[in-house]
Amino acid sequence: MKFTWFNLMPWQDLPDDFREKHRSVWVDIDSRLFDPARAHHLYNEYMDLLEYSSTLGFDGIGVNEHHQNAYGIMPSPNIIAAGLARRTKDVGIVVLGNSIALYNPPVRVAEEFAMLDCISGGRLVAGFPVGTSMDTNYCYGQIPALTREKYNEAHDLIKRAWSDPDPFAFNGRYNKLRHVNIWPRPIQKNMPIHIPGGGSVETYDFCIDNTYSYSYLSFSGYIRAKALMQGYWDRVADRNAPDDSPYRAGFAQTICVADTDEEAERLYSEHVSYFYNRCLHVYGGFADAPGYRTIKTIQSGALSQYAPPVDGYGELTWKDLNEQGHVIAGSPETVRQRMEELIKGLRVGNVFCLMHVGNMPKDKCMYSTKLFAEKVMPKLRDMFPDHKDDNRFWCSPLKNQAKPGNLPTEQMVAAAVGGKD
């Protein structure tokens, strides 16, 4: 199993009446709710937590990309990842990922990922999301019906930029480049790639055909994810993939651990409520730009967000969120049992553990993280013994890692250059 400690980096100060007073947490979120001085502390706290979790035995620490979004203040995950690469060792740096259709030209992603791979000594696990409609279409202005075509072209360009040893011309529809020759190049020749998806068959096939791991990064938990993940595994079988390794798939899950189930509710309930009842308040008009999603997805989807609002908003309670599986919370044993259900039920070798939730303060987050790392994770390690050697979807770090912050002292320098001062 590969466990990644994942941080969305939510803004923690959305007011109690946020849903009543503001139409969306995303795209046109009120900038007056943002305080840059507060963000200084928040970014550093979140990076500290990522670094802390890297010392507890997680396989990876994860970041992602969102724009104009108060539950994810990380428009550039690469900036965070660069900081993490310097201050951690051994752990995978999971960037899930860069929305490659948004970069002009996308060789920028090839370059930055190559830099991250070099700085981290081959610890990069890369992600290429198509991106949500909110990010891709409404914030970054990509034409919905052309987004996937542009994405595919960006993907081909990045892959070739990483692997072709010689300069080449790339005559794409969206990118015309006469001299592609990125410098630096990544350490990992077979970069592990994870693709976040939301149930489209095109994305299933794209992962299967390229040996990429399919990641379902939902916030609604493992119970609701069953049908979607089964659809993926059915497709893996139908398309005659060479194997059905569980590492071909990943899933994100909100997890809160305490000494007892009661303590979990007492400690975490308000923070979970903040996230599920406040942070996910997205205006329906931004959810799905026409042409972005397939007809089939619309036909199977929920329609309530498109209808006129009824009076007020319902609150999802701690009980609802736990029973429906949005959240796995409780004592180490409760969490272990439910995680086992998740891992077996969805057949996922990669779990992205959302252990910081909403406006959770750092002490509670550290407490929950440590309990998970020490009392839950070890018992879940050997879920797929038949596939334990499958390293295709994970990073392969250099044996000889640089030690950051290892300059000689000024006296040593003086001695080395001839004793002058």
Binding site: I143, P144, G284, A289, G291, Y292, L303, A307
Partner: protein, 258 residues
């Protein structure tokens, strides 16, 4: 009135044909057009009307090869040619007006009579056009109609805007149609038309609803200024869907072209 198909270079195109008389090509707006459209019926009293559907609209085949403004413009010129028409009266509503204006600008010798009904295609920062791609169905009537209540009934054929079956059908249709429209309208409905309008040689009638809240009448004046000799017909108590709200007056204005 009949729904027919004509072959073009890109894809078979569905079109509504009705009436007899001087040939007139009608290009629909982003919301599409259906058999029985009242304006088509009105125009068909005096004209031989052809109203081609953009690929992806109604039951017509989609066309991935059409990506940008030039593709749309040349495709529509192909349709006119495939219909065997030469210099028909060219009429366009909203997005259709944008395409018609482009056709008249790109090939001024092929378009001598032009009617633009609240066309898209220009953008003024002082008068941002509301984002139709970020609107929920229940929010649309207020931007589209002068009489919002009556307009809502026109839009849903009387069904409630929250009716799940209506919503599902609407969203599926919207994904196809607006997905296609988005190629020239998303995220800002402007593709450089302003720098080409000077090329238009056609006798041009501009038709605008006084209470158009989607593309406000300030844009009528911008078009009028940019197209030499253009005449503006303003219609009172009508919104962006002036075609549905004041069908006879729109018909009469178009009739000025012969």
């Amino acid at each position: 009135m009949e729904l027919k198909t004509v072959k073009t270079h890109a894809v078979p195109v569905r079109y509504i044909e009705a009436g007899k008389g001087t040939p007139l090509v009608y290009l629909h707006g982003a919301g599409g057009i259906q058999l029985g459209d009242p304006l088509i019926a009105k125009l068909a009293e005096t004209h031989h009307v052809f109203a081609p559907l953009l690929p992806g609209y109604g039951d017509s085949e989609e066309c991935g090869e059409l990506r940008d403004m030039l593709d749309f413009t040349l495709h529509t010129a192909d349709v006119v040619e495939a219909l065997g028409l030469k210099d028909p009266i060219l009429v366009g509503h909203s997005m259709g007006g944008m395409i018609a204006a482009e056709m008249a600008a790109i090939a001024p010798a092929s378009v001598s009579r032009l009617a633009l009904i609240c066309p898209a295609g220009l953008w003024h920062d002082a008068h941002p056009i509301p984002d139709i791609f970020a609107m929920l169905p229940y929010e649309m009537p207020q931007y589209l109609f002068h009489d919002v209540e009556a307009g809502t009934k026109i839009m849903t054929a009387g069904v409630a805007l929250s009716d799940p079956e209506w919503l599902k059908g609407f969203l599926v249709m919207n994904a196809r149609q607006m997905g296609m429209a988005g190629k020239i309208l998303f995220p800002i409905p402007e593709r450089g038309l302003s720098q080409r309008l000077y090329r238009i040689k056609a006798k041009t009638i501009l038709i605008w609803g006084d209470s158009d809240r989607l593309i406000p009448p300030t844009y009528a004046h911008a078009f009028k200024k940019a197209i030499a000799g253009a005449e503006l017909v303003s219609i009172a108590e009508a919104g962006h869907m002036v075609t549905a709200e004041k069908t006879n007056q729109v018909g009469a204005a178009i009739a000025k072209l012969g």
